[in-house]
Symmetry: C2
Subunit: 209 residues, 2 copies
């Protein structure tokens, strides 16, 4: 890590990606190390991060406008990767989206680090906003895209606001992962939620259906 950091001092803009990526990795891992050591977000200064990663402060500022954006990148790399959408149907794509949320929930339960990182993030409005802009909003736009494709192929009703439809699919999973830390997150839950919502919560051959 420190080696990569020191090399970066002589790095020019024309040197290409690999070296630059090594520097970024050193910085991100420096932040993770500090967090693992229990340093709270409020005490994570750019100076301290630079010292830990063995790079100059300018090297960090060339890549991130401030510690909020850097911290969000760290969180993003600690989270499960964005899902690869199978593209076979809206149903399958939605299951993939919910699976990522489920994995994220399982990870934040098993990793004290990630759990603390989320908690700290929420207590800082600036970081929370940066996280939304760079992680949550794109995720939401992806959900909208999937649902619009579903409306186009006739898999999803189009008489209800897409924003409400999106909340119907992700709301139950987010309720379990974020707001109900004791709720079970078993395998098959994503499929169960998506399929139950698609066919409706009335009994299949209900008199009132």
């Amino acid at each position: 890590m420190n080696l990569a950091g020191r090399e970066a001092a002589s790095e020019g803009p024309a040197r290409g990606r690999p070296r630059s990526e090594a520097v970024e990795r050193a910085i991100v891992e420096g932040v993770m190390k500090l967090l693992e050591d229990g340093v709270p977000l409020a005490e994570l200064s750019i100076e301290r991060i630079a010292r830990t990663a063995g790079v100059g402060k300018a090297t960090i500022y060339r890549r991130w406008p401030g510690k909020e954006e850097l911290f969000v990148d760290v969180v993003r790399q600690a989270e499960p990767a964005d899902p690869a959408l199978p593209g076979t149907s809206m149903r399958d794509d939605l299951v993939a989206v919910l699976e990522q949320l489920r994995e994220r929930g399982l990870m934040s339960r098993s990793s004290v680090l990630l759990h603390n990182v989320f908690a700290q993030m929420k207590s800082s409005p600036k970081v929370w906003k940066a996280y939304h802009t760079s992680v949550v909003d794109p995720r939401r736009r992806l959900q909208y895209e999937i649902l619009r494709r579903g409306q186009a192929t006739g898999e999803l009703r189009s008489d209800v606001d897409i924003d409400v439809l999106s909340d119907c699919f992700v709301g139950p999973m987010l309720l379990r992962t974020v707001m109900r830390p004791d709720a079970e997150l078993p395998e098959g839950l994503s499929e169960q939620i998506v399929d139950t919502l698609l066919s409706g919560l009335r009994p299949v051959s209900s008199p009132s259906a």
Copy 2:
């Protein structure tokens, strides 16, 4: 307030409810006043509350085991009242449950006090736990009851875990009120969510239905 508090000093156990209720109100309003003045939860000592309400510390401890439980009672009184269930159908009862969540969301957006109170509550694990035990858990048990009645009357499918069904109904509303502070909470949203979920998210005459 102070008058009610001072009277309480001479209050005996046989004096009946009205005076006791006045004392409780004085204490709860004392806490609200301190919160409105911007005193953070961590600095809300029983001593300070007693001084503000004009009662002795013992008067508070006779009613609440600690400041966590008192604080939760204050939050409960600041929130919209539990819904009166119409009892006409599971659908109508669920709409009433979601309406309370929607009102609570609207209130926490318009009231800076309530917004701060929720934020502070989440940052204290002890208060958060007390709030769950005395507010969230009973609310959840009520949802289960409504859903079980719906299964009994044939309004709700019974091939899916009641816990998952419950999250399907309240998840979308909680996502909007708690996790998406910018999301709209228009009139009619509760009805729209419940009815959409009951009939299913597939188009009504979908080829894949």
